[in-house]
């Protein structure tokens, strides 16, 4: 599957199918710190992603000025 990681605009390819939670773990995201998006749908972490999917992983963390 082809994955775009935002906001760092990183492109990643992973072979085979995976649960969304496993993809997040492989990319180094802790649970609850990124959304998994397929097309224009939010994918729950327990859902299976297929080998030919195009996926967006979008970090939810922001911060800086108090």
């Amino acid at each position: 599957m082809r994955i775009t990681v935002l906001p760092r605009r990183q492109q990643v390819e992973i072979a085979g199918r995976r649960r969304a939670a496993d993809v997040l773990r492989e990319l180094g995201f802790l649970p609850g710190t990124a959304m998994v998006i397929r097309g224009d749908e939010l994918v729950p972490e327990s859902a299976m992603l297929e080998a030919d999917d195009d996926i967006e992983v979008r970090s939810v963390i922001s911060g800086g000025a108090p």
Binding site: L6, P7, G32, T33, P44, S46, A47, P66
Partner: protein
């Protein structure tokens, strides 16, 4: 996986609440949490005009959307900070959201006043986030009082509050801990009430809300935030949360209900005086903003003089 509320297929898993929701139930629960926070903490009434500080990010735009949807009288306040293309995109997205929803928006461009955040931080050699925070607070306070708004709402979420709490506890900042509340009542005639209606919802929930509502927010991180201490605290708290879901909510809620009420007596931090320069509240002869601007002007003049010599 089924929705905890209606048993339809669930789209959102919230480990902290041990619950799953479909799109519609998640949106309902999120809005209800914000509405309950406003009512329980007595943040503002429906007949009070609310100035919403809007950066163009997920939290502030989600907050504005929820408040507008709940029928509150809102006006957006956006500060264009002059941080290159990041600020340009933030200003564009904020303006587009306001226009699409028919909402009033006040935009202040700091660069046009010669006070872009990178220049101020660079000249005064202060951390960008520190200079930015001082400038934002000043403009929020001043515009609110000058335009007659009794309350300013910001998009601080549970993660922001937990990270701030951790930082304040690590350094035992008692005056800051005493003021860390979801509602801050004015302590000076030129302060207005400051409220954080999202203080009980995580940034994961806020991001999901913004996404499901198709809010076009700035996904990019502020370039100045790279390496910010607050992000280190958030990373630590997220590790705790992964091991023990609900930790962040418990940390903040228990602080507010059990520790915070006993703090004011211990701090000895008196009410602010009046800034001799701008008339806004100050802890000292002049306020932090005027000190920062004075220093910026001095450094700018010195640089111009050395360039001319």
């Amino acid at each position: 996986m089924k929705c905890t509320r209606c048993k339809a297929p669930a789209q959102v898993q919230l480990r902290a609440h041990n619950a799953n929701f479909c799109r519609d139930c998640f949106l309902f629960i999120f809005q209800r949490q914000v509405e309950r926070a406003i009512e329980k903490e007595r943040m503002f009434r429906r007949d009070e005009p609310v100035l919403v500080a809007v950066s163009g990010g997920k939290d502030s735009l989600a907050l504005w959307e929820v408040l507008h949807g709940l029928g509150y009288q809102t006006t957006g306040l956006h500060l264009s900070l002059g941080i290159g293309s990041y600020s340009d995109v933030s200003t564009e997205k904020t303006a587009a959201f306001a226009a699409a929803n028919g909402l009033p928006l006040i935009t202040v461009r700091l660069a046009e006043a010669g006070m872009a955040v990178p220049e101020v931080a660079g000249l005064t050699r202060r951390p960008a986030c520190s200079a930015c925070g001082t400038m934002k607070r000043h403009y929020f306070d001043q515009l609110a009082i000058d335009r007659g708004f009794p309350v300013v709402a910001t998009g601080h979420n549970l993660d922001d509050e937990a990270a701030r709490l951790l930082g304040n506890v690590l350094h035992w900042q008692l005056p800051y801990l005493a003021r860390q509340k979801p509602v801050l009542e004015p302590t000076h005639p030129r302060f207005v009430r400051k409220v954080k209606p999202l203080f009980r919802v995580s940034e994961y929930e806020t991001a999901i809300y913004a996404f499901l509502k198709r809010i076009d927010y700035v996904v990019d991180e502020c370039p100045n935030a790279v390496g910010a201490t607050q992000l280190v605290y958030k990373e630590m708290l997220n590790r705790l949360e992964a091991a023990s879901p609900g930790s962040k909510l418990t940390f903040v809620q228990d602080f507010l209900s059990r520790a915070q009420p006993v703090l004011p007596a211990a701090t000895g931090d008196g009410p602010p005086q009046t800034c001799a320069q701008c008339g806004m509240p100050a802890f000292g002869e002049i306020c932090g903003y005027c000190r920062l601007m004075r220093e910026t002007e001095q450094k700018r003049e010195r640089r111009a003089a050395s360039g001319a010599a």
